[in-house]
Subunit: 459 residues, 2 copies
């Protein structure tokens, strides 16, 4: 067994909350993507920050890797134990610690999922808006800088994490940020850890901003003759200052998938799915203003959903994009990838992606958080077939290159993990050495999720 | 002359854009606070990023400090050349480089001031919302993580800087972030540099988010019998999801100052100054909802300002707080300090500050960005009188201790500079060593604004 010394010492602390059973290790080696299973040497279930600090100290002494594990919904292999070591399963650290209703924030442990949090908030009139689709853990969402359908209105995890507690690579427990909404004191370690994918620290506590549940919400779908028309509608809507809560682009291929999945009959054209939050009169006004703009760009087939159940049905359809994608090529696996570009370049990027998928003979429907310029391709593939995987690799490369060419980023919300390390140099250039310098300084033994995010190279 | 070798080499590059004249050096040693003048050895006026890179490289070779200098409106001495060296005057790098109207962002050089930027944006229908009062440079605002009256709606510089170009301590030019609105790729160097006060890098280009100018704006003032009533109004308004654009608390002492300055006759009670942005109907609805809440807490004397000139007059009064404070104790200097606490603790913090200033016999009116829990004390003082300065020091210490005791931060927007280094350990605890580690790693020769932000101590 690798790392036997570390595991022996950890067993003394964790007892039966440490497992080396093959089934448990294999479960923690699963992933939503196409990666081979990568077995950790042991899985540990900590129940407190102090336990994690003790664990990290031992792992530092024994040179044993630590890979935090939450809901395992990450899409770039962030939770996989590439170099073995400890899979640190955070699911027992799943308490909502303090709801500060007056301050519109909440303190949670990292194993709390976003749905669990909103369930716990139900009686408070408050909610946590970030919605990446999956019922991800909030620790994982913090570590990957997740976002989703509501980022256009409420921001991403970047804007919604106020403070953190974390265990550093030598076992030191630190706190970043305060309970105040803003601060100008010192380097912003909170934002340095948000999106660091477990490579700098284990996040053990998170203070999140909350929002008041809007008095009124209304949602709608409408269709366009072209992706450009849909995107131009979004650009003008944003420029007009209409505060959309959600605005999602669904391309004609994705609509076909939705129709198959829901036995629906939406015309197979690009659609926008939108939602407004506010007062009753305010949302009416917003919806009317949006409608005027959309009609200028030839929108038709408006379907409004004002009742809660109609809105839920609409967003359920959107969130079932993964399953709907599977209907398009039965039996295929789906590789979900994302890029993000300036909104002005979104139509160009989407059209390029559609062209690339046609050229490569791939089924690759597109859904996008279009208010942010962020879109996803769900590419059907067959991991057993090298030709299929080669074409998928060409497609994902083409997407990333398009994003960079248009001034964007190779990931808006899925992160780097294993899958996108190869683009880090192209995207960050000389800035990459400063990321490496931080990694070397914070984690000199390279035990924190080693082999992820930063490509091998010289500091 | 200190740093003669560096200055000789720099003179070859900058010619008459390097000055060692006493008058110029003395001008760059001025400050808005009470610090003694601290003379740089030379003042350099760069005109491009490449020039700055060349300068930094020479300074690194010659161990010569570099202190970026913008509008000199910083309040904690951030721009003072504590250890001599080069005052890097950024005022010739004052171009608005690209307005990306469709993407709602703008790329500026650091010497552009916020008023200049909004002037340049006038024909676009867009504006840059961050308003710290002073006509600060955008480089300085970025470096100090500034905010101001509109942060409750639009966020601080933290939320509004999308990307940066910067020159690092060895002369390397890096770019952080992209033109996309969000990204999950790599460590967030943008946010690491925002608020770093020139201690890690010289910021040479900034991409800022813009907002559409709202269709309608309305503003109002109203008064309360107590600070608690005013603060509770704010808490309930925020919880109700009413999107205020500005909400400022003005205490009874400050009102007295306004009355003296404007020859007005506002009742000397705590006031709220508020503003709503949105559609015509939306702002009416917001204002009515706010009015209902305020009346629950005994508000009276509502004065609405819907016409642009009335709103301007209202906010001009607010922005003249510094001059109005001077009216309260003619001849005195004003030390402006700020702290930020969770909103639920704001009334307690303000009342404690009022009590402390009475106890210490100080005139210290309070104005606050109450939606963020951030407030300012403008303390009258006489720098020639050691007793006055001792009481002022006691007052600022008491304020910081109150903020920390209530879960807040010693500065919401002024930053650390020289003035608040002594609280860094109390606020950040073990996290401070990770800040020191970043500083040591990025600037091993300690030439970037040395002696600021991080208190002396072991890494």
């Amino acid at each position: 067994m690798q790392h036997a010394a570390a595991i022996a010492r950890l067993t003394e602390i964790f007892g039966d909350r440490l497992s080396t059973a093959n089934a448990i290790r294999a479960e923690h080696a699963q992933n939503e993507t196409h990666y081979d299973t990568m077995l950790p040497d042991a899985v540990v279930y900590p129940e407190s920050t102090e336990e994690i600090a003790a664990l990290v100290k031992i792992c530092a002494e024994e040179d044993c890797p630590i890979v935090p594990y939450g809901a395992a919904s990450s899409l770039e292999g962030q939770h996989l134990a590439l170099k073995g070591g400890i899979s640190l399963d955070m699911n027992r650290m799943n308490k909502v610690l303090t709801i500060n209703a007056e301050d519109l924030n909440v303190v949670v442990q990292p194993g709390v999922t976003r749905e669990q949090l909103n369930e716990d908030l139900r009686t408070t009139g408050l909610f946590f808006p970030i919605d990446p689709g999956a019922n991800a853990s909030l620790g994982g969402m913090t570590a990957t800088r997740a976002s989703g359908t509501t980022a256009v209105r409420y921001g991403t995890m970047r804007e919604n994490v106020l403070a953190l507690e974390a265990v550093m690579a030598d076992g030191t427990i630190i706190r970043t940020g305060t309970q105040a909404r803003k601060s100008s004191t010192g380097y912003d370690l909170t934002h340095l850890l948000v999106g660091s994918e477990g490579t700098l620290a284990v996040i053990t506590e998170i203070t999140l901003r909350l929002q008041g549940i809007p008095e009124a919400m209304s949602a709608a779908t409408c269709r366009f003759e072209s992706v450009e028309d849909a995107v131009n509608t979004v650009i003008l809507t944003i420029q007009s200052g209409i505060p959309m809560a959600r605005i999602e682009l669904v391309d004609e291929v994705m609509v076909k998938g939705f129709n198959l999945y829901t036995k629906g009959s939406l015309p197979e054209k690009p659609h926008l799915f939108i939602e407004f939050h506010g007062t009753p009169d305010g949302t009416k006004e917003q919806a009317a203003a949006f409608g005027d703009i959309a009609e200028e760009f030839g929108a038709s087939g408006f379907q409004w959903a004002e009742k809660a159940e109609d809105r839920t049905a609409l967003w359920k359809m959107r969130h079932n994009a993964h399953h709907a994608t599977k209907m398009l090529e039965p039996g295929a696996k789906i590789l979900s990838t994302d890029v993000c570009v300036p909104i002005s370049k979104l139509a160009e990027a989407v059209l390029q992606a559609q062209e690339d998928s046609k050229r490569l003979g791939l089924t690759a429907p597109i859904v996008g958080h279009v208010g942010d310029g962020n879109f996803h391709c769900g590419i059907s593939c067959n991991p057993e077939d090298p030709d299929s995987m080669a074409r998928v690799a060409e497609m994902t490369s083409a997407l990333s290159e398009t994003a960079l060419r248009l001034g964007g980023t190779v990931s808006g919300e899925h992160g780097i993990g294993l899958g996108k390390m190869k683009y880090m140099t192209a995207e960050h250039g000389p800035a990459l050495s400063y990321m490496r310098a931080i990694k070397a300084s914070f984690d000199p033994k390279n035990i924190m999720n080693p082999g992820k995010m930063l490509p091998p190279g010289n500091a």
